[in-house]
């Protein structure tokens, strides 16, 4: 097998693998509907709609959750 054939097979296999990967991802998105944290993907649209700094995050970072459980007020200091 010469280099050109190898390239051709490699190209075909990679294209097929990536296409399968993409379709598997689409299947995953629409069958699970929620991500690993249990948040519905569609809720993430609210990251743009409710984007004031004092708005509650759709899914807060663990660091931010500490500030939201009552010990520190959101919007005052964050480090």
């Amino acid at each position: 097998m010469d280099i050109a054939q190898l390239q051709a097979y490699g190209y075909f296999i990679m294209t097929a693998a990536l296409a399968i990967g993409l379709y598997a991802y689409i299947y995953h998105l629409y069958s699970k509907r929620k991500d690993a944290d249990g948040v519905d993907y569609e809720d993430y649209s609210n990251m743009a709609l409710k984007d004031d700094i004092a708005d509650t995050p759709v899914n807060a970072t663990s660091r931010d959750k500490k500030y939201r459980d009552g010990t520190k007020k959101v919007g005052e200091k964050y480090e």
């Binding site: 190209y11 990536l18 993907y41 709609l49 984007d51 970072t61 919007g75 964050y78």
Partner: protein, 498 residues
């Protein structure tokens, strides 16, 4: 920031980039209009007299036009949007970190200084002759630093965020950063000629800033168009999608039609776009399989592109009356429509049999401009109109001026691309026409004569777009002293004066 007061977003870096976008946009488009009139009336090449002809002729001004609208106007608006919406969707303020603020300001001022040197160097005729990458090696290094600073800003804001997930716009910004970094580095692999000649240039081979590409012949062309097309992909497409995914939902108050569709369109686009550049090299000396790959991937590109475009348009589902009532929504909806339109036109041009007629003709220029003026230009204008009231805490000065601008610019875009369609296909057909013995039916000058009216129409179209842009700049300028607004007026639809 008031230490004891509530935390607020800080738009100072965003404001600097907006000012630059307005300034460079005006200059870049003015140069474009001058070029269009030069094409229609060649005597206009010496409009400042024979002595200054070197600085006013088409070939000297052309890279100044392309580079200033792509890297000056568009990138400034992209960065203004990043420093504005990056904070908002990550729910973290620039004011919370002195380092991030320093990086942001350094990013702007280094970019501004490098741009000034680039303008001078292009005017002086210093160029590597690589399209959209004309800058010589010292400037390439400066660009690398500027780009790295943006990367640091992204990493900083993302690392500091309160939202765990990254909003779809952030994914598009990250893709822009990574792809352009790779494109810039690989396309600009070059050897300064001073390493093989004398820096003083006694050998007459060149000045200290001069360099030659590491690639030669066909390889150079291939790398150049891998870069060239992906510059369209990752400077004029992905960051603009990032902008529309934020500004359209925010301004209309509507959630994205399908967040899942936005995610899969993103990965589809990433997978496909990077392979499409080969379509610039159809019927050239690059390997045939590479040309076919370029064609095939260009056609497949319709799917992820339309996935995003349909998602943008369907976001307005049930709220179409906003298109009629708000000129700002008009700009975004027409921009998304032009995105659909040019992402259908591009793949058609990349089909080999169509390309046999389209290649090297004005149809390509028409395609570039329905994308650049209709999609990129309109989205940038909409983004700045949305940001201005929030940054200045004032209403947009005049809604009627905005409406007038919209219709003048739309007419300009339509005149531009329709004239170039006719000109391009006429050119393509005339170049290949021959008699029964194979003799060419026309000489080159025959095409020039036939195309003259269309070149004039194009120049008129460009002039209309520029007039609209000046109205836009005036409107934003007047916004800085318009009626002050309350916080609640800024939630969704931007406040506008009559």
């Amino acid at each position: 920031m008031n230490k004891n007061g509530p935390l607020e977003y800080d738009y100072s870096v965003s404001k600097l980039f907006i000012m630059n976008a307005l300034f460079v946009g005006t200059i870049g488009m003015l140069v474009g209009v001058i070029l269009a009139w030069e094409m229609a009336y060649p005597e206009f090449n010496t409009f400042l007299g024979e002595d200054l002809a070197e600085y006013t002729n088409f070939s000297r001004l052309r890279p100044l036009h392309t580079d200033s609208v792509i890297y000056g106007f568009t990138l400034s608006a992209v960065w203004a949007s990043w420093y504005y919406l990056g904070q908002r969707v990550l729910k973290v303020s620039m004011a919370e970190s002195k380092i991030l603020m320093f990086i942001g300001k350094l990013h702007f001022w280094l970019y501004f200084s490098a741009s000034a040197v680039i303008v001078l160097s292009l005017l002086m005729g210093i160029t590597t002759s690589k399209e959209y990458a004309e800058f010589e090696w010292p400037l390439d290094l400066a660009i690398t630093v500027v780009w790295t600073l943006w990367g640091a800003s992204i990493a900083g804001l993302v690392g500091f965020r309160r939202e765990k997930a990254l909003y779809i716009s952030i994914w598009y910004f990250i893709a822009t950063f990574l792809a352009v970094a790779m494109l810039h580095l690989f396309n600009n692999m070059e050897i300064p000629t001073m390493f093989v000649t004398s820096p003083a240039g006694e050998t007459m081979i060149g000045a200290w800033w001069h360099s030659v590409s590491m690639y030669a012949g066909t390889n150079d062309a291939l790398v150049q168009w891998w870069f060239g097309h992906n510059a369209v992909a990752f400077v004029l497409t992905t960051p603009i999608i990032a902008m529309v995914y934020y500004f359209l939902p925010k301004e209309s108050g509507q959630a994205i039609y399908s967040y899942k569709l936005s995610l899969l369109s993103f990965w589809g686009l990433m997978f496909v776009y990077i392979w499409a550049g080969g379509h610039h090299m159809l019927y050239s000396t690059v390997p045939d399989w590479m040309q076919t790959m370029g064609s095939v991937f260009s056609v497949i590109l319709i799917l992820p592109s339309w996935g995003s475009a349909i998602n943008m348009l369907l976001t307005m589902k049930g709220e179409w009356q906003q298109v009629a009532s708000s000129p700002l929504i008009k700009f975004m909806v027409l921009g998304s429509t032009f995105y659909m339109f040019s992402t259908l036109e591009g793949p058609i041009q990349a089909i080999k049999s169509v390309n046999a007629i389209a290649h090297f003709t004005d149809w390509i220029i028409g395609h570039v401009h329905d994308g650049a003026l209709g999609w990129v230009g309109f989205m940038v204008i909409a983004a700045i109109y949305h940001m201005a009231p929030r940054i200045f805490r004032r209403e947009i000065y005049s809604k009627s001026l905005m409406n007038m601008q919209f219709w003048i610019q739309t007419l300009g875009v339509v005149l531009y691309f329709t004239s170039m369609w006719i000109a391009g296909i006429t050119q393509g057909m005339m170049w290949r026409a021959h008699d029964e013995f194979g003799n060419l039916a026309y000489s080159f000058i025959d095409t020039v004569t036939v195309l003259h009216p269309y070149y004039t129409i194009r120049a008129v179209g460009g002039t209309l777009y520029l007039i609209g842009f000046v109205m836009f700049v005036y409107n934003i300028y007047k916004t800085t002293s318009a009626r002050e607004v309350e916080e609640h007026e800024l939630q969704n639809a931007s406040p506008m004066g009559a």
